[in-house]
Amino acid sequence: MADAVAKPPRVTRRRTGGPPRRLPYLLIAPAGLLMLGFIAYPMLSVLYYSLQHYNVTKPWRNGWAGFANFTRVFTDDPQFWDTLVFSGKWVVTEVLLQLLLGLALALLVNQTFLGRGLARALVFSPWAVSGVLTTTIWMLLYNPSTGISRYLADAGIGTYGTSVLSDTGTVFWAAVVAELWRGVPFFAILILADLQSIPGDLYEAASVDGAGRARRFFHITLPHLKDAIILSTLLRGVWEFNNVDLLYTLTGGGPAGQTTTLPLYVANTGINGHDFGYASALTTVAFVILLFCSILYLRLSKFGGDTT
């Protein structure tokens, strides 16, 4: 990556007159400044706030707090543990199901068949849809009086007036299905992109040697996809953990806090509860957990281990 690029600057020095040593820095300056100002600085202020009592509604208490906020997170906040457990359950379920369905879908639309282009466009289309729009669509489907369940009840399946979103027994799976609907295409697109880089001769050679479909899949396709799968599950896991759009609008974290993830809890604490200090401590903890899990995952999965 780095070795092929040393040459050009010397030529430019003659051509443009400007000292090219500064050029790369000039080029990354806009991106760098934006990220310093709007990612790094806010991140540092989160760290700073986490050590403060900072609550807009209780200004008389504001000031240095030391580790009081963190002590509260770990020893005095059962809701934190609940949201952490739910986050874990949410991320693992979503990523696992999205991976399996996405892989199946990618293998499917990688075949040659009539109408493939159209089929691809259609099955990938929910990828472009947002959390709130997903919510809108699934609210209409889940509506107890005019949604799918009513028509199913008309046909003799199930009962009238079931609201999957207000029942603690079904709300988790109702949210999971809605998120799957728009999440599977992401996996399918990434995996399909990687599938297309597998040389066809490999399969031909394998079939000549008498390898069946299952063996070709496990000995050629899967090993080749390994890094793409690790990377996309990691990215998606981080995203499913962080993203609050869908749950915020679909369930609002309810019923009875059953679907509140840690980031959603943070948003509620900070924005609605105005307790910025405590929200910042929660943020810091969430970030550390996320980073720890990601590193652990990369280590355990031996990412990039056998490519070089």
């Binding site: 050009p8 990220m35 031909e204 000549v208």
Partner: protein, 299 residues
């Protein structure tokens, strides 16, 4: 290969014998000899899962209030009129467009510069910059709301679309830079060098030689940026306080949260929200897969 086909059970051949070109095409398929029904059956099931929700939204948007028909007939425009005029979706649409296009332009321009630096130069801060780009992927936007809110308050940008544009751009940048540098690496340096020899400056050579070759990649990255900021909800919800500054996702959320949900209006609002991204998606669809394989995974 033909034997392999035979061993696995020949697919039910199409009624007419396929022309040789089509046949050759089929052989190039990844896993030869899959029976057709094993493709079409799961595909149809998955299509059902994908399309029924879309259809349901269209159904509610187009059929008159109170109707229970499963086919939207007679078609009515009442819900659209209502959300567009009474629920100010006209203004939301305009605001979303401004945010979407502005962050598209900013993201692409800034990422183009950064991506070029990463692809073509070796400089001391390069490793650190790459690391920062990757690390930023782990920072949750939702968790940064509080400090970002304070920053924009200090900049007196609360309740201006600019705050949302900046926030969307910043969180789109890392991935866009990585993608674009991947695309630039695919353009041979020798092409640029030739232009320098012909007397172009670096900038002119870049515009004349590299930029045209980057077009598919830029369209992909720009579209991601547009779709992302069109869809994103939290920044607009938090930074824009007055209703005439709001964007479509926030407008949809107010319809969802209303005490008695007007399902027709909600569905019509959903269709309005979906139309631009569907158009963009249809437009970039063919570059989507190559875009990902060129930039993201192998960068």
């Amino acid at each position: 290969m033909t034997t392999a086909l035979a061993e696995q059970g020949t697919p039910p051949a199409p009624a007419a014998a396929p022309p040789p070109a089509a046949r050759a095409k089929r052989r190039r398929g990844l896993d030869q000899g899959v029976p057709r029904w094993q493709i079409y059956l799961p595909l149809c099931l998955y299509l059902l899962f994908t399309l029924v929700p879309f259809y349901w939204m269209l159904l509610f948007a187009l059929r008159p209030a109170g109707s229970n028909a499963l086919v939207p007939w007679p078609v009515t425009g009442e819900h659209f009129q209502k959300v567009w005029n009474e629920r100010s979706f006209g203004i939301f649409f305009q605001n979303s467009m401004i945010v979407g296009v502005a962050s598209l332009v900013m993201t692409t321009a800034v990422a183009l510069a950064g991506g070029y630096a990463l692809a073509r130069f070796d400089f001391r801060a390069k490793k650190g910059f790459m690391l920062a780009l990757l690390a930023s992927q782990f920072i949750p936007g939702a968790l940064m709301l509080v400090p970002l809110f304070e920053i924009f308050k200090n900049l007196q940008m609360i309740n201006s679309l600019g705050s949302v544009v900046i926030a969307e751009t910043v969180f789109q940048l890392p991935l866009s830079i990585i993608l674009i540098s991947g695309f630039i690496k695919n353009v041979p340096v020798s092409l640029e060098e030739q232009a320098w020899v012909d007397g172009c400056g670096r900038f002119r050579a870049f515009c004349a030689v590299v930029l045209p070759l980057l077009r598919p990649g830029l369209i992909a990255v720009g579209s991601f940026a547009f779709v992302h900021s069109w869809n994103h909800f939290l920044f607009a919800l938090m930074f824009l306080s007055s209703q005439d500054k709001q964007t479509i996702p926030v407008g949809l959320n107010t319809l969802i949260g209303a005490d008695s949900v007007d399902l027709g209006a909600l569905a019509a609002g959903g269709v309005i929200a979906a139309v631009p991204v569907v158009i963009v998606f249809a437009f970039i669809q063919k570059w989507l897969i190559t875009g990902f394989s060129a930039g993201a995974v192998k960068g």
